[in-house]
Each structure stands twice: as structure tokens, then as C-alpha cells.
């Protein structure tokens, strides 16, 4: 069944992969978003992720349900981590299992794009010079 969650612990990629593996599936695609050490030329040391928890959970759940219907597989799982993350930490994992690889890739891509467009989560970057700033996508 599709499942989504906001968590404050490190994401367990192997566990999320197992969750979408079924004998009918021939392909699993995992997307892992990680904190980069640079953004628009500035040196980044970490990111605070915060959310409108109740709505972000609901929106993320609606989103994996929609992906499940759209791509015809029950095996769509997404976890997003909140709190202060260091460079290299995984902020989001999307796991999709599907009988066919093309659909597994497409569903995975659809979930991350929809998440970035719709789910009320914000990030504030910490820079090497000690300053911090809220980051918008597509800015």
C-alpha cells in the first residue's frame, strides 16, 4: 500500500526498498535527496527542514496515493526527514516498485516533482560564513 511519513530520524534506504519489493515487481527505483555542500555558489554546512506538519503529512499521503493510481502500483513509499541535517544526510527517500521499469522510473520522478511543488516543507540553509537563509525552489 502507498505510504508516506514525515520523520525526524535518519532515513533507512534498505528498509524502504524492502517495503516496495514484491514477487510481481521486476523493478524498484529509489530516489534519495541529500544535502549538498553548495548552493548557488555559497558553501553550505547544513539545512534546517521544517514543515506545516499536519498538512505536509496529509499532502504527502495524497501524493503517494495519486502516484499509486496514476502508475498502477501499490508500491509507492515516501519518507521526508525534518530537523537539522548535515551535508550528505538524506532528506527524502522515494521508493517505487513496479512490474515494469519504465513505469517505476516515471512514478518516482512524478513523486519528487509533485513533492517539491506541493508539500509544505521549507528549508533554511546554514552557510560557512555563519549566516542562514530560507531557500525557495526555482528562485
Amino acid at each position: 500500500m502507498p505510504r508516506a511519513a514525515l520523520v525526524t530520524r535518519p532515513l533507512d534506504v534498505a528498509a524502504l526498498l524492502r517495503e516496495v519489493q514484491r514477487p510481481a515487481n521486476g523493478a524498484e527505483v529509489l530516489f534519495v535527496g541529500t544535502v549538498r555542500d553548495a548552493h548557488e555558489g555559497r558553501s553550505v554546512t547544513g539545512i534546517d527542514y521544517s514543515a506545516y506538519d499536519a498538512m505536509a503529512s496529509a499532502e504527502l499521503e495524497r501524493l503517494v496515493e495519486e502516484a499509486s493510481v496514476r502508475y498502477a502500483t501499490p508500491d509507492v513509499v515516501c519518507e521526508h526527514r525534518l530537523g537539522t541535517l548535515a551535508v550528505g544526510d538524506a532528506s527524502v527517500v522515494i521508493a517505487v516498485g513496479h512490474p515494469r521499469r519504465a513505469a517505476a522510473y516515471d512514478a518516482s520522478r512524478w513523486v519528487i516533482e509533485a513533492l517539491k511543488a506541493r508539500v509544505p516543507i521549507w528549508k533554511r540553509e546554514h552557510y560557512a560564513d555563519g549566516s542562514r537563509a530560507w531557500v525557495h525552489h526555482g528562485r
Binding site: Y49, S50, A54, K116, A117, R118, P120, I121, W122, H136
Partner: protein, 80 residues
């Protein structure tokens, strides 16, 4: 009526609060709530047509508002 409005991220910083109470007439729409918020100190940093959520779903500024609704202004999202 009095409506409680949740603020997040850059909007919370701008208004200096995670939530503010605003008074709007009975029969008001979400646009009226936004106008009230923008009249507060720091409210000029909220755009005139921000994303707005009512009861955990995106809504439009023409949608009606009730005192029991959970209203939130949603700054540009940046998950992932």
C-alpha cells in the same frame, strides 16, 4: 469573527509569530484574511496573492472562511 492564521518559515519571521489572530467580517473570504495579515507590522513581506491552505488543503483567495477553519499562509515550498 476572529480567525487564527498559522504562519511558517519566512512569513513567520516577517510577522515575528507562528500564528496571528485577525478579525474579519462574517462572510469573509480568504482574501480578506490575507489583506488583514498584510496590514500587520512585517505583513508587507507577504505577497498579495500568497498560497493559502484551509483545513490542510490548498484553497483560493475567493474561498469562504469560518472561525473554526484552520487557515495557514504557505510560503514558497522547498521540500526534497
Amino acid at each position: 469573527m476572529i480567525v487564527n492564521v498559522l504562519l511558517f518559515a519566512s512569513y513567520a519571521d516577517a510577522l515575528g509569530a507562528d500564528a496571528v489572530m485577525v478579525e474579519v467580517p462574517d462572510g469573509a473570504v480568504l482574501g480578506d484574511v490575507v489583506t488583514a495579515i498584510r496590514g500587520r507590522p512585517g505583513g508587507d513581506r507577504v505577497p498579495s496573492v500568497p498560497l493559502v491552505a484551509r483545513n490542510h488543503r490548498y484553497a483560493t483567495l475567493a474561498d469562504p472562511v469560518a472561525a473554526t477553519d484552520e487557515i495557514a499562509l504557505i510560503p514558497p515550498v522547498a521540500g526534497g
